[in-house]
């Protein structure tokens, strides 16, 4: 498939509040931003409300082995007036654990 050139990186100057192997939490102007590091490099196709978290999220597309495209979240914007860092960290930790579990299943460290 074609390389797309649209840049989907968040602004580099946003300070990192915390990062794990699979996530980063960034300090945005009005949002705490949770980023899924496994989705780095994806082109942002839309910003819309995420059903799971109920906040705005950047979404991209990943094509599976059959060529079927699936919309996936890249980063989520938690408004600071509604969410504190601890709540976002809770979501990020859950995401981290989910990916760790997949890694253990697919690439066990014997």
């Amino acid at each position: 498939m074609e390389i797309q050139s649209k840049n989907n990186e968040t602004a580099k100057e946003q300070p990192i509040l915390k990062k794990g192997i699979f996530y980063a939490i960034l300090d945005g102007v009005s949002d705490i931003i949770m980023e899924d590091k496994t989705k780095r490099g994806l082109t942002v196709q839309e910003r819309s409300i995420d059903e799971k978290y109920g906040v705005n999220s950047d979404k991209g597309m990943i094509y599976d082995m059959d060529g079927i495209g699936h919309k996936v979240g890249i980063r989520w914007y938690f408004p600071k007036d509604k969410y504190g860092f601890e709540k976002v960290l809770e979501h990020a930790t859950e995401m981290e654990q989910r990916y760790r579990k997949i890694r253990e299943e697919t690439c066990p460290d014997y």
Binding site: M1, E2, I3, Q4, K39, R40, G41, L42, T43, G60, M61, I62, Y63, D64, M65, D66, G67, I68, G69
Partner: protein, 280 residues
């Protein structure tokens, strides 16, 4: 446009002939869930690249018998006049065009611009899938002159009369990326390109605005100035063989080059093989 073969049909002609039983319109998709299933040309059947064109077990295109079954399910006979179009800039329609020719189907054309142009023109789609009576299609033996295998490409490395055309993006050619993040299944162990290949991205051949093909004069200039001339034995490749089918189509059927082959193993084969030489 004076292309060397009558292999293109414009959207207007297709729109005016959707009820014409002389034509069989087939949509070819990489991602049918986000294309055909969301709407397609009235009466068009679907060929899904992954399911219908690839052998389900071995990495290979379908064999003659599987091809015959596919075309029978699509209601075709050897005499059918087929119009192909599809998603992703007609890449996979071009791939299927290549396979139609590989198995000797004569009357096949592509709708210039594919879904992209059809949508730009706000033409209508339907979600109704046609009921197609099965036929008994009989194919020709494969024309291996249209296909390059790994050993053909290895042999070509020492031949001055063979030219390799790498139709991928410059970043793939240089090895900066092996595949975009969107396609995690299409990576190779090594990045770069086959030694001495010319990088002429597939998109050089089409107009940005609507995905239609450029004129003969423009196409000649693009390829000939890079040493891809009709007197050469030309081998096209990309990552999985679909974009290279698009360029194969341009060289073989729009410009009329006599000897052009598609290396469908492409970079996902070359870049994964132990010992293959690579340039960056």
């Amino acid at each position: 446009m004076n292309y060397s073969h009558q292999v293109l049909v414009d959207t207007e002609t297709v729109a005016n002939n959707l009820n014409n039983k002389s034509f069989k319109v087939i949509e070819v998709d990489y991602d049918p869930e986000n294309a055909y299933r969301q709407g397609h040309l009235q009466g068009a059947s679907l060929i899904w690249w992954k399911r219908d064109i690839n052998d389900p077990v071995t990495r290979d295109i379908i064999n003659k018998s599987q091809f015959e079954d596919l075309l029978s399910r699509n209601g075709l006979t050897a005499q059918s006049e087929v119009i192909l179009y599809g998603d992703f800039n007609n890449w996979f329609a071009a791939f299927v065009f290549w396979i139609f020719k590989y198995y000797g189907h004569e009357k096949v054309q592509m709708m210039n611009g594919g879904r992209k142009k059809w949508e730009i023109e706000n033409r209508s789609y339907t979600k109704d899938e046609p009921q197609i009576p099965k036929t008994n299609y009989v194919a020709q033996p494969p024309n291996e002159g249209l296909r390059a295998y790994l050993f053909d490409v290895r042999r070509a490395l020492d031949k001055s009369d063979t030219v390799l055309v790498d139709v991928r993006s410059p970043k793939e050619f240089s090895g900066e990326v092996t595949a975009p993040a969107e396609y995690p299944m299409e990576h190779a162990q090594r990045g770069g390109h086959i030694p001495n290949a010319n990088n002429i991205p597939w998109a050089s051949a089409v107009n940005d605005t609507d995905g239609t093909f450029k004129s003969v004069e423009e196409l000649k200039k693009i390829y000939e100035t890079k040493g891809v001339t009709p007197d050469k034995d030309v081998i096209c490749y990309c990552r999985i063989g679909e974009r290279s089918s698009h360029t194969w189509f341009v060289l073989k059927y729009l410009l009329g080059y006599p000897q052009v082959r598609n290396y469908d193993g492409s970079w996902t084969e070359w870049g994964n093989m132990i010992g293959n030489p690579i340039e960056k």
